[in-house]
């Protein structure tokens, strides 16, 4: 009886709080995924027509033929600068062009020469630059192997799961019959005249008439349900272009750990997917999302990293359509004992991970980033899609948000509350209720009657505000923004050519076609101070609901047969959110004449979104597991270039216990984007509402955040320059220590701070893994020194935040915490010099004005500090840069040194 009761309770609870999974497709419910996943490995119908090979200096092309239907594909292979190989596969002669993702690559990637090493009837061997790397193209069946020395780094189509659904005419319609007749006549005419053009191919085709007949027959049979029309729940997808999916498999020998492909509420190390659904990449507004499953969330970055002790590589699958990623591993099922047995007995089987990407439309355009180090992969990916935008310093401070601050008085009193309780903050946020009836770019005439007064009040305190601007536009003839978009024809169209209409916060809404450059330019112009009434230079922007969220659409998003110019929404879906943030960030830049850095938060994202601002992990909940998952979710984003990541502190849905809230502040204070946020229906939770003890704990940790701002800022400068993540998994810095490979309950900030947040209720201690043989780690609170390469048990109280500074590092901090980061601009630095066993240390300091693009004009200070032989010296590592600061170094704290008898100070020139 007890069991029954418990079970019933569990069902009941999950029914109330978990996501309604039925609203979202499984692979089986997505016809292309089901179709593709049903393919059996080892039966690849693709063959290389070696005679079609063309090699210019930097580009190799080859034709592939599908022996089942004779459709030809064109394979392009490029060697890109920086140890990247690009493989593109498209139909040789598609019925109509297939979508190739624009605006994600920062430029046409520069190439390097390729050369043929050898060639025979089985294939071709190419040399990839200087690093003794080769590509082996096998002809029958088609397969690519990338080798370094004797090691295979990566194989493509090794399992024969390449699939390319060619565009075709629909057979059950009249137009098809006519067209196909005409086409076949035309083909015959063409054959007569052009037989010289493709002699080989012709021969082959003709030599195999039986095969051809069979193919035709097979094709007839292959018209499956869901190819030309598909329904999900009450929504139907007209699919006028029919099936168009693409798919390819990759084998990663020697690899047991793969990471990336955010956004999923999943651990850092990706799991194998054979027993369930593949990881799905399809930007969706998931209400009350569930943890630990591969369902799609708000954003998608189709980048996977693979790592073992010898090498890190990456796969960037540049496709913006709905995508599913299958992962399998030959060691996944093995127990630790089994693995040991293999090791002892010298088992023949090397571990291997197989990955398979399936996208609904577009082409195959994949970048193989060959490392070999984690940082090489970051820089390779950055060379393709750019780096993290360098945010204004203030945006690294604390953000206070809630749905909603009710009116100007509410904003004023919350602002005053922070002063009264002496807690610093930089930004206060306004959610959708601030607008006049969810018309973005407007203000509620009663609650926010004088926005400029409000903004001025914040500016007087050197603080800022963020107001939400969502991409759904209320259909209302009295709304300027709507009228302009409609009259300019800027709305996304429905399949019948009218303006697409969906249901969102304002009721019936249109969706601007952000894929259009002219639309984005217009949108950006709306942020000009004279257009966006009530805006001032300390007002920044938040783009929510940009998946896009359509309350009455299939899977709460836009219909796939909606139309963006010559493309379907199907082709561009995952890119929509990136464009929204791009246009908004441009708007903020333009309003200041290109002087000021923008700050824009987005919920939806894609590869390249790092260039436009910050992201957060969407509508989480006030639960301990949601606090835990914030770590791997942001780590995964960091690995694929998006460093400016955070989760709603406190949890969006539901109401946190004071303990959970405090622990979340302690965790959030050490994550890149630090914002508290709460749902409209939750009780207020400003830090002072939980009694003096909790207030003191929260105040203390927010202040800790502010002391580290110089370090955060320097790390973001580094991320902007190199693409290295700010918040990092341990394995990135300790790539040869397998103990770090799956760690995701702790993380590094840069190289030098290790954080193990307390994420369990009632916790009395945590066990942190301190990596690095021959390293020291210093507790930042007590300065206690611990040895590396150990699991350290740390007893904790409510005030504990286990954070360690790496021996060998120098971290600049500002200990004079003030009301906001801007108030601290001219304050002096304290250098924390933590010595390693060799009694040396190194660190950097970066200073600029904190808010303009003048750093691009070399207006900054960048210095390196080194401590060795008891001398701390400072070197200018940007001698061509100039900047003047009023700040100075007021204090140097050396950890791990004994008390000196004498200290001398020497300035340059003496």
């Amino acid at each position: 009886m007890v069991h029954v009761l418990v079970l019933w309770l569990a069902v009941c609870l999950s029914g109330t709080w978990a996501v309604d999974k039925g609203n979202f497709k499984t692979c089986d419910q997505s016809s292309f995924c089901k179709r593709q996943r049903a393919l059996k490995p080892g039966e690849s119908p693709y063959r290389v027509l070696l005679e079609t090979m063309e090699l210019t200096n930097t580009r190799l092309t080859l034709q592939l033929i599908n022996d089942n239907n004779k459709v030809r594909l064109l394979l392009e292979l490029y060697r890109l600068q920086g140890n990247i190989t690009r493989v593109k596969i498209n139909e040789l002669k598609p019925l109509k062009p297939r979508y190739e993702v624009p605006d994600v690559l920062v430029r046409e990637p520069p190439t390097e020469p390729l050369s043929v090493l050898s060639q025979d009837e089985n294939g071709v061997v190419l040399s990839l630059g200087a690093e003794s790397q080769r590509v082996i193209v096998s002809a029958r069946p088609f397969r690519l192997d990338i080798m370094e020395g004797h090691n295979v780094l990566m194989s493509l189509n090794s399992r024969g799961l390449l699939a390319f659904e060619h565009l075709r005419m629909r057979k059950d319609t009249f137009s098809y019959k006519v067209t196909s007749t005409v086409a076949s006549v035309w083909d015959n005419i063409k054959r007569v005249f052009s037989s010289q053009a493709e002699p080989e191919a012709e021969k082959k085709d003709e030599a195999d008439p039986a095969n051809q007949a069979e193919t035709a027959k097979e094709e007839e049979e292959k018209v499956e349900e869901g190819m030309w029309e598909e329904t999900f729940k009450s929504h139907s997808d007209s699919k006028p272009n029919g099936p168009s999916a693409v798919s390819l498999d990759f084998s990663l020998p020697g690899v047991e750990h793969v990471y990336g492909i955010p956004e999923h509420a999943e651990p850092l190390k990706l799991k194998t997917t054979e027993s369930g659904d593949p990881y799905r990449l399809y930007n969706l507004d998931v209400f009350q999302y569930e943890l630990y499953n591969p369902m799609a969330l708000y954003g998608a970055v189709p980048v996977m990293l693979a790592h073992n002790t010898k090498r890190t590589t990456g796969i960037f699958w540049l496709n913006a359509a709905e995508t599913w990623v299958d992962i399998s591993s030959n060691t996944a099922g093995k127990t630790v004992f089994g693995k040991m047995l293999d090791y002892v007995q010298g088992s023949s089987e090397t571990p291997q991970t197989d990955v398979r990407w399936i996208s609904e439309s577009g082409i195959i355009d994949v970048f193989l980033m060959l490392g070999p180090t984690p940082k090489d992969v970051f820089s390779q990916y950055a060379s393709l899609t750019g780096t993290q935008s360098f945010p204004p310093l203030s945006s690294l401070g604390y953000h206070q948000c809630r749905w909603n601050y009710n009116d100007q008085e509410d904003v004023r009193s919350v602002d005053a509350g922070f002063d009264e309780h002496d807690i610093p903050y930089d930004f206060i946020w306004l959610d959708i209720e601030h607008t006049d009836g969810k018309r973005y770019f407007t203000w509620d005439p009663h609650k926010f009657a004088t926005p400029k007064d409000m903004l001025q009040g914040l500016m007087d305190k050197k603080r800022k505000m963020v107001a939400i601007v969502d991409p759904h536009i209320k259909i209302d003839n009295n709304y300027k923004i709507h009228n302009e978009i409609r009259s300019r024809g800027f709305y996304v169209k429905n399949k019948d050519g009218g303006d697409y209409e969906g249901w969102c916060w304002p009721g019936s809404a249109g969706y601007p076609d952000f894929t259009r450059a002219d639309m984005r330019a217009w949108w950006a112009s709306m942020f000009a101070y004279d257009q966006y009434e009530g805006s001032m230079e300390n007002l920044y922007t938040w783009n929510d609901m940009n998946e896009p969220s359509v309350f009455n659409g299939p899977e709460v998003t836009m219909h796939k047969d909606a139309v963006h110019g010559s493309w379907e929404h199907r082709d561009v879906h995952n890119l929509y959110g990136l464009y929204v943030q791009m246009a908004t960030a441009d708007g903020l830049i333009q309003r200041s004449g290109g002087v000021e850095r923008p700050f824009v938060l987005t919920r939806a994202f894609f590869a390249g979104s790092q260039r436009y601002g910050a992201v957060w992990t969407g509508d989480n909940a006030a639960e301990w597991d949601h606090l835990k998952i914030s770590i791997p979710m942001c780590l995964s984003l960091g690995l694929v270039g998006i460093s400016f990541c955070g989760a709603d502190v406190g949890g969006f849905f539901k109401s946190p216990s004071p303990e959970l809230l405090v622990r979340w502040y302690q965790t959030g204070a050490y994550q890149p984007f630090f914002r508290a946020h709460a749902h409209l229906d939750t009780p207020r939770r400003e830090p002072w509402l939980f009694g003096p003890e909790n207030l003191a704990l929260i105040r203390d940790v927010v202040r800790q955040r502010y002391t580290f701002l110089p370090y955060w800022y320097q790390l973001f400068y580094n991320a902007y320059r190199t693409g290295e993540p700010v918040m990092r998994p341990l394995w990135v810095e300790y790539p040869q220590d397998p103990a770090t490979f799956a760690v995701d309950d702790e993380f590094l900030i840069g190289r030098d701070l290790l954080v193990h947040p307390v994420t369990d209720e009632g916790s009395r201690g945590v066990t942190a893994y301190l990596p690095g043989k021959d390293e020291f780690w210093y507790d930042i609170h007590t300065f206690h020194k611990h040895n590396g390469a150990q699991n350290l048990y740390i007893p904790v109280t409510m005030s504990s935040i286990p954070v360690f500074q790496r021996g060998g590092s120098i971290i600049p901090r500002k200990l004079r915490v003030r009301r906001s980061s801007s108030c601290m601009e001219h304050d002096p630095y304290t250098l924390f010099v933590a010595l390693n066993p060799q009694r040396t240390a190194e660190g950097e300091l970066y200073i600029d004005d904190g808010h303009t693009f003048n750093y691009e004009k070399k207006e900054f200070i960048h210095r390196r500090f080194s401590f060795a032989n008891n001398v701390l010296s400072s070197v200018n590592i940007a001698p061509d840069a100039k900047f003047t600061t009023k700040s100075w170094v007021e204090r140097i704290i050396v950890l791990g040194a004994s008390k000196p008898s004498k200290i001398t100070l020497r300035t340059a020139g003496e």
Binding site: K462, D681, P683, L815, L845, V889, L905, T907
Partner: protein, 537 residues
């Protein structure tokens, strides 16, 4: 500058200005602790440093006492003299942060912030508003005195009324008791007479029934005795398959014989002995007009026929009715159950009539007794009702008298009043000590924002906040509740409402009842220039 990192800047050597001789940021009271030319001991005694390290923009003391005038210490504080206004302390972190905090602008001496001395302005404004407030407080306090008087008068009235009512209650109680006696005395003979009458009628009914049964038995015998030989035989019985004993659908000879008690045939006397076994199942052969039901257990027999008449109701109600008679005394003030059907006793009796003829009317004697008893009952009920009303009255009075209307009963006048505020969308209604509600201006139903909970002000001022709780529930949220903040005013008005957190409402409410006696107003700024005068040496 970019090369100068390791230079510690000492901004304030000799900056202890001509104007202020004590170190910057030190209140006059602590002046003696900062003696120039003597080593400085941190005020927590933790450390002693040369005096030139006081206010050198580097923090030496844990307690921040060596940097009263700079932002160097994380936990220090800065004293604003604020001549012309009120001196105050601000956290050291607000010194030179570019934001003007002290009205005398002394906190921003090196930040470039353009701060004006606003102390006199502030003082003027404060004085004005203090005066205004004092005026209100004064007036309000007078009103409050009246309210208190009225309330006390009202209280006295109520108390005396209570005493009156309590006395009248005693009389009433006695009356009720007396009437009860009368009633019971009258009911006893009534009951006996009725019982007699009923018993006689029952006996008569039994006789009638028996005769009917006999007649029917004879009728059946004749029907069964098809050959008219004066015997009912097995064969004759077999034509009536409804008599099948084991209901297996076939009525066999053996069964028929068994029914006849093992013999082949029975005469009338013998038939009488088995009549009870067959009479219930037996159906008339011709079966046209036979009103089969014979026996008292009519319910069972009737059931198949009575599919949609009101049969079930009396059944259901009967037990309830009995209870009701016992409970009647208690359940009156609540709106009496429309869920209860009128006493169905009579229906019941009528039904009896249908079956067995009409009970004859009571004889005159009995009827008289009944009438007398009914009168006694009515009088008793009437008296009892009055008693209940008096009880209600007492309860209400006691409740009101015992209500916490503040230390001087000054809030009593709010009792049973309501105050409204109309906003853009809603009409808010505060009925103090009762409930708060919200009604859409343009139609729609009222929402309960909470019922009277308690006084909820801070310990030293508990009567400054009212809390109304357990209002209508919110989707995925708590029940609505309202906090009412009371401030001194000459009028009793709801001045604002808001919903700071979902379903948690805040109301501002002015009332003279919260006005305190204003202290005598000083005409001069409280601190005045003492700081100025002395220490500018």
């Amino acid at each position: 500058m970019s090369g100068q990192y390791l230079v510690l800047l000492f901004l304030f050597g000799g900056v202890f200005s001509v104007e202020v001789q004590r170190p910057r940021g030190v209140p006059l009271s602590k002046r003696p602790l900062y003696e120039e030319d003597k080593p400085f001991t941190c005020l927590d005694g933790s450390r002693t440093i040369p005096f030139d390290r006081v206010n050198d923009d580097y923090c030496d003391c844990q307690d921040g006492s060596d940097e009263p005038g700079t932002a160097a210490c994380p936990h220090g504080s800065f004293h604003c003299t604020n001549a012309g206004f009120r001196p105050t302390f601000i956290p050291s972190s607000r010194v030179n942060d570019g934001i003007c905090d002290c009205c005398d602008a002394t906190d921003e001496y090196n930040s470039g912030a353009d701060c004006q001395n606003t102390c006199r302005d502030l003082w003027r404004k404060e004085k004005e508003s203090m005066e205004k407030l004092a005026e209100i407080a004064k007036e309000g306090f007078l009103l409050k005195q009246q309210l208190i008087q009225e309330a006390n008068r009202g209280l006295e009235e109520k108390k005396s009324k209570l005493t009156d009512v309590q006395n009248s209650k005693k009389d009433l109680e006695e009356k009720v008791e007396a009437l009860r006696m009368v009633k019971e005395t009258a009911e006893q003979p009534e009951k006996e007479a009725k019982d007699r009458h009923l018993k006689a009628w029952e006996e008569q009914k039994a006789v009638i029934r028996m005769e009917k049964d006999k007649a029917r038995m004879a009728e059946v015998f004749l029907e069964l005795d098809g050959d008219g030989d004066g015997f009912v035989s097995v064969a004759e019985l077999l034509s009536h398959s409804e008599l099948d004993q084991n209901s297996d659908g076939s009525f066999t000879e053996a069964e028929a014989q068994e029914l006849l008690g093992g013999v082949d045939k029975l005469d009338t006397a013998g038939f009488e002995s088995i009549w009870s076994k067959i009479k219930e199942k037996y159906m008339s052969g011709s079966n046209t007009d036979a009103p089969a039901p014979v026996e008292p257990p009519q319910e069972e027999v009737k059931e198949p026929a009575s599919d949609n008449d009101s049969e079930p109701y009396p059944d259901d109600d009967n037990p309830e009715e009995e209870e009701e008679e016992e409970d009647e005394e208690d359940d009156d003030e609540m709106d009496d159950g429309d869920y209860k059907s009128p006493p169905p006793t009579e229906t019941h009796e009528k039904k009896d009539d249908d079956e067995d003829g009409t009970m004859p009317p009571y004889d005159e004697e009995t009827q008289k007794l009944i009438d007398a008893a009914q009168k006694a009952r009515d009088e008793f009920d009437e008296a009892e009702k009055s008693l209940r009303e008096v009880d209600d009255n007492i309860r209400n009075l006691e409740k009101e008298i015992s209500f916490d209307f503040g230390p001087s009963v000054e809030f009593a006048y709010l009792y049973s009043q309501c105050y409204e505020l109309t906003t853009g969308e809603y009409v808010y209604r505060l009925c103090p000590f009762n409930r708060v509600s919200q009604k859409p201006k343009y139609g729609g139903s009222e929402t309960n924002l909470g019922s009277w909970g308690k006084w909820a002000g801070p310990e030293d001022n508990i009567y400054s906040v009212m809390k109304y709780e357990h209002g209508t529930g919110c989707w995925q949220g708590p029940n609505r509740s309202t906090t009412v903040k009371l401030t001194c005013g000459t009028e009793t008005v709801v001045t604002s409402t808001s919903e700071p957190s979902r379903c948690e409402y805040l109301m501002e409410f002015t009332s003279p009842a919260v006005c305190q006696e204003p202290p005598p107003m000083s005409q001069e700024p409280p601190p005045m220039t003492s700081d100025h005068g002395h220490d500018e040496l």
